[in-house]
Symmetry: C2
Subunit: 128 residues, 2 copies
Amino acid sequence: MTNRVRRTMPILPISIVMQLTDLTARQIRYYEEQQLISPARTEGNKRMFSLNDVDALLEIKDYLEQGLNVAGIRKLYETKVMPLNDQAEPKTLSDAELRSLLREEMKHQARPFSQASQRHGDLSRFFK
Amino acid sequence: MTNRVRRTMPILPISIVMQLTDLTARQIRYYEEQQLISPARTEGNKRMFSLNDVDALLEIKDYLEQGLNVAGIRKLYETKVMPLNDQAEPKTLSDAELRSLLREEMKHQARPFSQASQRHGDLSRFFK
DNA sequence: AAACAGATGTTAGATTTTCTAACATTAAAT
DNA sequence: ATTTAATGTTAGAAAATCTAACATCTGTTT
């Protein structure tokens, strides 16, 4: 009775993900194009999202609001600074790269990356 | 991070519910027609299912496998012997009705209704 | 100021998914 | 042998989603 969803199981159509995240379909597809997420596909090529995907989208949204750009977020994911995604092989950041990311964050009053802001980043708004 | 889904929120399309329950679309629609479930609808009239709906379907499936028929299951739901659904107003069963239900169960080696069989009845197969 | 780039909006046309309704089949009960 | 409950199958319509292209907006760079 007290089950947690297998968070990697693709069960949600894009329409529902739009509701859960307050993102447009355009935004979601763009973030996929930019390799920030990679939702599953049905046989008929429709995207199907897992709860982890939704979490990731909420984090992405939050980072964008903090002033990061897509490239910066991608870098964060690549380097596994963030634990959320089952990502490809992590690489190490050069000092220059790291400083560049940090500087970008500084520009926008952002706290250094804890789990994004606590207001978003997971589904506590919708799940209990 | 460790969230349970709001189990009444309609988030699943019928295709996914088919996978989760191993029921056909025909069966699912039939059970709705027979008032065993009442999934939400999108603006465009597509069914959207909650996790509670999926639980209910798994229970229905189990009861059918135990030899109950739809009418019997409906009666069970109506009389709130089962807690699962937010059903209409419960009525009391006449003794005759109750005996009739029980007899039907007896015919098929069924244990008296605990929460259906433990093998089904909730989503532990898919959720963790 | 003009040009550019990143993020998102909008639209069109094609494809997939889901819908209802009707008729068919199967197995069990009478 | 009929009848009925549950499910299968099919057809045609409507909704949801897809890709691709072009538009817009905002902030940077030259």
